[in-house]
C-alpha cells in the first residue's frame, strides 16, 4: 500500500503534469507546508529538487516544540526548583530546547528528575508506578498531540490518578496560519497538514479559505501525496478557484474525529497564546478549564517569569518559522548552529525545519 505512494513512475507522471501546469501559470507560486512531517517528506525525498523553478515550497510553523515559549520552559524549571521531588516527563527534543536559563537537560544534569518519553501514555504509566510522587508531563503539541493528552487526562480524572498533572503548551494550527497571512507572508496555497486534519477535519481549516481566499489541499505524508497536492493547488490557481480540497481522503473526514474533538473541548478552553519567535496569536492555545485545573501544574504553583528573549542574537528561526527564509539563508546554519550545538529551537527539534534540512542534506533548490 505504502509502496504505491512512493512509486517513481507515478511520481514522474505527476511531475510532468506539475511542469505543464507551472508553465501554463507562468509566474512564481509559493506554497507553504505547516507540519514538520510534511517538511520531512519534502526534504527527505528531495521534492524541491524535482519541482519547476517557479514553484517554491516554504516551510511554516510546523514544529510545536520550536514554538513553545521560553517563559513556559523556564516556569516549569522554576516549579521544579520549588518542589524538587517532582518527576517531569517530556519529549526528547523538548528536553534539549535551549532557553536563556538553560534546558531540561541541564536540570537533569543538576540532579532533577526529568525523563524522556515517547508519548503521554509513558508519562501516565510512570504516575501509576510512582503513586507517591507527583508526575508532570510538560506537554507541547498541536491538535494531533492534544487529542491523546485529552484522552489520557480523562482516564486520570476517571481513575482519580491525582499525582498526574500536565503543563499544557498545546497549540492550535489554523490560527498560526491566519497570523502569518495577516502579517503579510505571501502565499498562493497551503499544503494543509493531514495529521492535524484527522482531528479537526476539513471543516477546521475551511474558514481560512473563505476569509483569505487561499487555496488549500489537505495532504498525506507520502511523497506522492505531496506531489499530488501540489498539482491540485496548481490546478486551482489555473482555474482561479480558491477552495479547500482533501487529497488525504484515506484518513481525513470532513467532520474530523468528533470523539476526540469532544474530549478536547470538554477539557480545554481556547485562549490567546504566545508562540516562540512569533508572538501572541489570537485564540491559539489550549488551557485546562477551571473545573479541571487541578490537573494543570500551574494551578498549584505560582511562578512569575519575566519576559525573556526568544532567540539568541543572529538566530533567524523566527523568519524560518514564518516561511520567509529557508534554513540555508541563515548565516549560522550548519556553521555555528548544528544539531549538536543548536543555537535556536528550529535546529533542536526533529520537526524543526533547520534540523530537517541539516539531517537530510537538502540540495539547496
Amino acid at each position: 500500500m505504502q509502496e504505491a505512494w512512493r512509486d517513481e513512475i507515478l511520481a514522474k507522471r505527476v511531475l510532468v503534469a506539475i511542469f505543464n501546469k507551472a508553465e501554463k501559470l507562468g509566474r512564481e507560486v509559493r506554497f507553504m507546508d505547516v507540519c514538520g512531517t510534511h517538511e520531512d517528506t519534502i526534504t527527505r525525498y528531495g521534492i524541491r529538487s524535482l519541482l519547476p523553478k517557479n514553484v517554491k515550497i516554504l516551510a511554516g510553523p510546523g514544529c510545536p516544540v520550536c514554538i513553545t515559549p521560553v517563559e513556559d520552559i523556564v516556569a516549569m524549571m522554576e516549579i521544579m526548583k520549588k518542589e524538587p521531588s517532582i518527576l517531569v516527563t517530556t519529549f526528547g527534543d523538548m528536553y534539549r530546547i535551549p532557553t536563556p536559563k538553560g534546558s531540561f537537560a541541564d536540570m537533569k544534569s543538576r540532579g532533577y528528575d526529568v525523563r524522556i518519553v515517547y508519548s503521554i501514555y509513558d508519562s501516565y504509566k510512570l504516575a501509576l508506578k510512582h503513586r507517591d510522587r507527583l508526575v508532570v508531563h510538560f506537554s507541547p503539541g498541536f491538535e494531533t498531540t492534544t487529542a491523546p493528552t485529552a484522552g489520557m487526562l480523562w482516564e486520570a480524572i476517571e481513575k482519580k490518578v491525582e499525582n498526574f498533572k500536565i503543563y499544557s503548551v498545546h497549540r492550535l494550527t489554523p490560527p498560526a496560519v491566519e497570523f502569518l497571512l495577516e502579517q503579510g507572508t505571501m502565499l498562493d496555497g497551503l499544503i494543509t497538514p493531514g495529521h492535524v486534519s484527522t482531528i479537526i477535519g476539513v471543516k477546521g481549516w475551511k474558514y481560512l479559505t473563505s476569509r483569505y481566499g487561499i487555496p488549500q489541499v489537505i495532504s498525506g505524508f507520502e511523497p506522492l501525496d505531496v506531489l499530488i497536492s501540489i498539482h491540485m493547488l496548481l490546478q486551482m490557481l489555473i482555474e482561479g478557484q480558491a477552495e479547500i480540497k482533501n487529497e488525504y481522503e484515506r484518513a481525513v473526514k470532513y467532520e474530523g474525529n468528533i470523539e476526540a474533538q469532544k474530549k478536547i473541548d470538554a477539557l480545554f478552553n481556547v485562549v490567546d497564546a504566545k508562540w516562540r519567535a512569533l508572538g501572541i496569536i489570537r485564540r491559539s492555545g489550549y488551557v485546562l478549564k477551571k473545573e479541571y485545573e487541578e490537573y494543570e501544574i500551574r494551578s498549584s504553583y505560582e511562578v512569575n517569569i519575566e519576559e525573556l528573549p526568544d532567540l539568541e542574537k543572529g538566530c533567524r528561526c523566527g523568519e524560518v518559522l514564518r516561511g520567509l527564509i529557508l534554513p540555508y539563508e541563515c548565516p549560522l546554519f550548519g556553521r555555528v548552529c548544528t544539531p549538536r550545538n543548536p543555537v535556536g529551537p528550529c535546529m533542536v527539534s526533529y520537526e524543526g525545519t533547520c534540523q530537517i534540512f541539516y539531517k537530510y542534506g537538502s540540495l539547496y533548490g
Binding site: Y45, P223, R340, Y350, E351, Y358, Y360
Partner: protein, 336 residues
Amino acid sequence: MRIKMMHGAGGEAMDELISEFILKTFKLKSAGSVSLDDLDDGGSIKYGEEELIFTIDGHTVKPIFFPGGDIGRLAISGTVNDLAVMGAEPLAIATSLIIQDGFAGDDLKRILQSMDETSHEVPVPIITGDTKVVEEKIGIFVITAGIGKAKRIIRDSGAKIGDVILLNGGIGEHGFAILSVREGIEFQSSLNSDVSPLWSLIKEVGEAIGWENIHAMKDPTRGGLSEALNEMARKSEVGVEIWESNVPLNPAVKAASEMLGISPFDMANEGKVVMFVSSEYAEEALKAMRRHPLGKDAAIIGRAVEQYKGKVIVNTEIGGRRFLEKPLGDPVPRVC
C-alpha cells in the same frame, strides 16, 4: 569538557573525541603503511616483505543476548570483519573478558560457546586472552583483538571515480533488532541481527574478480551506511551517488523504521560490507556475493562520481536528490 554518551555514538561527536583527544595525544602511531592517523578499520605492521593487519574492538552491547546473536558472536564477528574489510585473512584472535561480580556462569558459558562456534565459521583460532572480574555493574564486556594477513591491503580511501558500489544485503538489521528488545517493541515479523563474520564472503569476491579490483571496502557498523559511505567519500575524495530504491531492506526493518521515524541508513549493521569495485568487474562481483549465503540479497547500490567530492548524494525513491549526511548521533524517534 566531559565525555558524554554521544561521544561514543559514531557521528560528529565521536570524530571530535578521536581527533582532539586520541590522535593529538599519541605520538608513536605507525608500524606500516596504515597508521592510527588513517582511522581505518585496522592498522598495518610491516613484517619483512609482507604486511600484517592488526585490529581491536570492545563490545559492550546491551542486552548481551539479542535476536540473531549475542555478545560472543558479535565480539568474534566484529574483529574478523575489521580485518576482512582490509582484505586480510584472519590469522588469530585474542580476547579479554571483563565480567561483573555475580555474573551468571551459565550465561558466560553460552557466550563462550557462541564465540567458539563463530570462530569455527571463519575459521580463526582464539590463541590468547585475559580475564578480569570487577564490582562495577557492567554485566560483561568482551574485547577482541585480531591479526590477519592481506595479499593486498584494501583501504577506505582507495575508491576511484567510476567504481561501482556493492552491498551484500539489507541494512539496519542489527540496530533495529537491538532497539526492539531494548524498547520492548514487537514488530509484525521477527527482526534478527545480521551479526556474522564476513571473511568467507569477501574472499569469494576477492578471488573471483582479483583483489586489486576491490578498490575500497568498509563494514557499516555504528553510524550505519550513512557514516560508512561518507567516510569513504571523504577519504577517497570522490563523490558517492546511490539509488535509495536499490539499497536492500528487510520488510521488518522497513516497518520498524517507519514506525520509529529512524532512517535505516543510520542504523548499525554487523554483517554487512560496502565494496567499491572496478566497474568492469561489477557484475562478476555481484554474482560472487550472491553465491554466498550472506550475500544472497546483494545489490549494486551506486557508484563513485566526479561531482560533489567528499559527499554522498542519494537519488530518492521518487527520483529527487539530496545529500546523505552522517547521522547526528544515536537516532531518537520523532515526536508528533
